[in-house]
């Protein structure tokens, strides 16, 4: 588990899991609104690095502070922002977890150690180090989802390309 400083004094805690077996349960409780503690679950193969998630977190926090959330909670907003697309349900499906997901990144804003422990108990999988994100990322999937052309990869990392798209989504 690692904690990063998001904008404006907020913190974002991450935990990465492989071999997750209960994605369906997690999805069901998210949809019912009974997920306790509330957290964002991302498809970790689309995350090459934490930075773009922090960019999305900044956006989500900003929307929350201005009462302009497009989705239900600040955590679902984080997932929506990370997709770089304006279509809410499609975003949640694509970059969030699905019933067959087995590689999941969990994130929670301003989480206490107890809450992170609770999340660890919720997810039935093996927790691994965040450093493994880059190696396990599905580069082809990322390129396809974010429509990153080869010319851009020549001058930029996947992480930077995703960050730009996340940041500029509403301007496009």
């Amino acid at each position: 588990m690692k904690v990063f400083e998001a904008s404006n004094g907020n913190a974002l805690s991450f935990a990465l899991f492989t071999d997750v077996t209960n994605s369906k349960e997690l999805l069901d409780s998210m949809r019912a609104g009974t997920l306790e503690p509330e957290a964002a679950f991302l498809n970790a193969s689309l995350v090459p690095d934490v930075f773009p998630v922090l960019v999305a977190a900044h956006k989500a926090l900003l929307s929350k502070s201005r009462d302009s959330l497009s989705s239900r909670t600040v955590h679902s907003e984080l997932v929506y922002c990370y997709s770089g697309s304006k279509h809410i349900s499609e975003s949640l499906k694509r970059v969030g977890i699905s019933e067959s997901s087995n590689y999941v990144l969990a994130a929670r804003f301003n989480a206490s150690p107890e809450e992170m422990e609770a999340i660890r108990k919720l997810v039935k999988g093996t927790e691994v180090e965040l450093e493994g994100l880059e190696a396990k990322a599905d580069k082809a999937q990322i390129q396809k989802h974010y429509k990153i052309p080869g010319s851009e990869l020549g001058i930029s990392s996947l992480s930077d390309a995703i960050s730009c798209r996340v940041a500029a989504r509403d301007a496009l």
Partner: protein, 226 residues
């Protein structure tokens, strides 16, 4: 317009103020960043003013991401705030081409360096133009050379627009030519090298070069139509 409480606990150091925007240095989740704030012009009608500023803000964000897609190095965009009219992007550690050329002017030209920079400039503009993107403000102060990698980074897309007309591309190059002539004539003919690299990288260079000859003769913004 002042920056409100959202960023009040981040350090904000004013770096430059131009006619359209103020540029601050600050911190974004641990990384050094630049915040560009477009201020509102009080002489405009408020509803028109906010629409215009927002339109320009979005255009700048869009053009920067388009330039990246075309393979041209620009700072990474970190955030766009439509309420405060600010853009937050990566702080590029490096010197502007303007400073480098001024240095050459004073203490002598390093041929290899100049050749490399001109080649990168021509190549970058060629890629932009082929992709239908006009920078709009090509001057040496809007080009940075990144420390370490010595890569060219283009900044300030505030006047950019999309166009495939050779006229617009020629004017873009002409602006650069005039800027180089006025500031850096002591470096020798940099424009020729840039155009040579442009010819190599752009597939539509011939129509643009023809137009450039025309624009040189008559000056810009004289399409003599209408």
């Amino acid at each position: 317009m002042e920056i409100d409480g959202d960023v009040s606990n981040c350090s904000l150091i004013l770096l430059k103020q131009g006619a359209e925007a103020r540029v601050f240095e600050s911190n974004f989740v641990g990384r050094r960043c630049i915040i560009k704030e477009r201020f509102s012009k009080k002489y405009r009608h408020p509803s028109l003013d906010s629409k215009l500023t927002l339109k320009r803000l979005n255009a700048e964000a869009r053009c920067m991401t388009k330039a990246r897609r075309l393979g041209v190095q620009t700072p990474v965009l970190y955030a766009v705030d439509p309420l405060l009219h600010t853009l937050t992007f990566q702080f590029v550690e490096g010197t502007s081409v303007k400073d480098i050329l001024l240095e050459f002017g004073q203490s002598g030209v390093v041929e290899e360096c100049l050749g490399d920079i001109s080649a990168q400039i021509g190549d970058a503009i060629g890629k932009l133009h082929d992709g239908g993107l006009i920078h709009g403000d090509l001057t040496t102060s809007n080009m940075l050379i990144q420390n370490g990698t010595n890569q060219l980074v283009l900044i300030d897309f505030g006047l950019s627009f999309t166009s495939t007309l050779p006229e617009d591309k020629a004017v873009d190059l002409y602006v650069l030519e005039r800027a180089l002539l006025s500031m850096h004539s002591s470096c020798g003919n940099v424009m020729d090298r840039i155009l040579a690299a442009y010819r190599k990288s752009s597939k539509q260079w011939s129509s643009t070069m023809n137009k450039l000859a025309q624009v040189r003769q008559r000056g810009r913004k004289r399409t003599m139509v209408g």
